[in-house]
Symmetry: C2
Subunit: 385 residues, 2 copies
């Protein structure tokens, strides 16, 4: 297998982009990444997206975007793993380059969610769950996460307010990210008094939806030279794993087995231990998911995820900086695009360009993107090479 490197990245602000069509939104991030890479053409396009058939009445996002971005004739395809679609597209693109089949690949995470009313989006998001045994029984996606959070609090003795540091950290970091949807800070009091969504998950436990696109150009590492002084960043590990799709089928619904498996594979592939990870862009769709990811990836004991936040270890100067650009919670969660936002943000950190939220001497970054309630999990490790 050939080593794969990043030649350019790009993103749009996560927002309500009512003035842009699906292709215009995706094109913005694609052009930004290609411009930074110094290419006006790539051999193939891999698009990660979850909801466009349901929200936009559009399938075949591969060719929709290859057509729009002027990649006429080139190979293009869409990859879908619910909210893990972005990282799943990255992994497919990585394998295409690693195999020697392709030399220049553009990976694009793209989602446009705000053109429809809230209940339409809630129904569309429920397609990430098991249609027969979860969604059709009337439980929404946030409802499933609420059941998990309630049980976790009961089992390990946490209060709701113990999860506040996750959301407070995310918002504090988003304040300095011009691409974030929610660029404001929040307090513990605001966290506690926020309106309830599905007990115990309130509005400030939950990530906001949004329209967004993020992209990266991948090439064989040995073809990268002349990055204008920027460090060469390689994809040191890519790993995917699954759990059962329905949460109730799991032996232990409070442990993210697929996150554990994919993180273990990624550590092995990259040749690093958890303590060597300089920052971790995790999948905090809900605050409970931040806690569970931290535990599954070996950064805390079972049931002790919230401790890292309470001990002030998750901010950019802490032991395990997470959500350094705002995370899903405050940068926003345009579902199929999220995995690629995480990767673009990891690249920004490894280049040292994150200003107030820069992690000092960051050399190794991990991203973890989750489809469904821990059903499909993809872990990537990026390194300055």
């Amino acid at each position: 297998m050939r080593k794969v490197a990043f030649l350019g990245v790009g993103q749009t602000k996560v927002d309500e982009h009512w003035d842009k069509s699906l292709r215009e939104l995706g094109g913005e991030a694609a052009f930004a990444a290609m411009t930074e890479a110094g290419l006006d053409r790539v051999e193939a396009l891999f698009v990660g997206n979850m909801l466009s058939p349901l929200i936009d009445g559009q399938n075949q996002l591969g060719v929709l975007l290859s057509d729009w971005t002027g990649l006429w004739g080139q190979e293009a395809v869409k990859v879908e793993a619910a909210c893990g679609s972005g990282a799943a597209a990255l992994r497919a693109g990585m394998m295409a380059v690693a195999s020697g089949e392709l030399d220049t690949v553009l990976v694009l995470g793209l989602e446009k969610m705000t053109d429809r009313a809230g209940h339409d989006v809630t129904s569309a998001l429920a397609t990430a769950a098991d249609a027969d045994y979860e969604a059709d029984q009337g439980v929404s996606f946030v409802g499933i996460n609420a059941l998990v959070m309630r049980r976790y609090m009961h089992e390990f003795g946490w209060k709701h307010t113990d999860f506040a540091p996750f959301s407070i950290n995310a918002h504090a970091n988003a304040l300095h990210n011009p691409y974030a949807r929610l660029q404001f800070t929040i307090s513990v009091r605001e966290f506690e008094n926020s309106s309830m969504v599905a007990t115990p998950i309130n509005l400030l436990d939950a990530s906001p939806i949004g329209d967004g696109a993020a992209a990266a150009v991948l090439v064989p590492a040995d073809k990268v030279n002349g990055l204008d002084g920027r460090p060469r960043i390689v994809l040191a590990a890519s790993a995917a794993a699954t759990d059962t799709i329905a949460v109730h089928s799991r032996r232990d619904p409070l442990f993210l087995q697929a996150a554990y498996t994919s993180a273990r594979r990624a550590y092995e592939m990259a040749g690093v231990d958890p303590q060597e990870i300089d920052l971790f862009e995790l999948h905090d769709a809900f605050s409970i998911m931040a806690a569970l990811s931290i535990e599954a990836c070996g950064f805390a004991e079972r049931g002790q995820g919230p401790r890292l936040g309470l001990d002030h270890e998750i901010h950019p100067g802490g032991r395990l900086p997470i959500c350094t650009r705002g995370g899903l919670k405050a940068r926003g969660h345009p579902v199929g695009a999220t995995g690629m936002y995480q990767v673009v943000e990891a690249v920004q950190q490894l280049r040292g360009g994150c200003g107030e939220t820069q992690v000092e001497n960051a050399r190794v970054a991990m991203t973890q993107n989750i489809g469904g309630s821990g059903a499909t999990v993809l872990t990537h490790i990026l390194k300055v090479d």
Copy 2:
């Protein structure tokens, strides 16, 4: 890149499977392929599907099927390129094995379409077209193909009846395929008198929808031994290309540029000329698409596709056998599964197990799967090795 071989294939009958859920239907083909491969576990699952979010309210078919088939923990993802999803999943799975990243991959094409009323399916299929500039203007997917067929007849002087041999051949072959949906023959008179769908496309120009699943296990070719006397079949070429998504954007709407490009790449990769292809499983969603594919792939001059049928060259004993197991027209077209049916049928031919419709001494088979109206095209060449 490592050479990739088929270790086992499996399929379900294309039909109205109202008694089977989406996972049960996919599981049937997956288990059949794994049983034939002699494996009870593979490292990863690639699912090709187009409509499950719209018809079944289910996304994340990767983990839905890895969960159902007992591949707990393993990597799983869905690939989508409208009606080209099956072959797009095959190509993603091929690259995963070729790269050395994975050693055993199951590729599954799966679609369940008949649980909803006809107008729901028509709307869902329109998501293969350009939502902004085709579907939202009120033209259905068959309508787009009808415009192309009418212009083709005008431009090259063909009558509707000249397309009859495509459908007659497909039905004649499906009669001998127990997995085909329409196992009966049709006459020229029936073809001419069939009810109109969208002028000039009538019911017997059009492939029927259906529920179906087809699967294959891929492994590195050097790990294949002991196939109980069956020949070793390798994936000698895999190529993908795109055109514009909307037909009206094309310089020439009567030429399948992406079919031409991907076929040319495939010939080069496999080291064969068009005349060395022993059989061609093409994408006859409509009879006009059969003619255009034959031309784009170099088997007939521009505008002369129907000639091969009129000259009796497309049946299993002819110069270019097509649709040897019934094609989309008579085996049926469960859209996201179709590309994998074509591949399973090509494997059956190369093994010599097709009875009355066996192509004698078949050594090289080509499959071509199309997403949208020629927007995404994937061409694969299989060889007895």
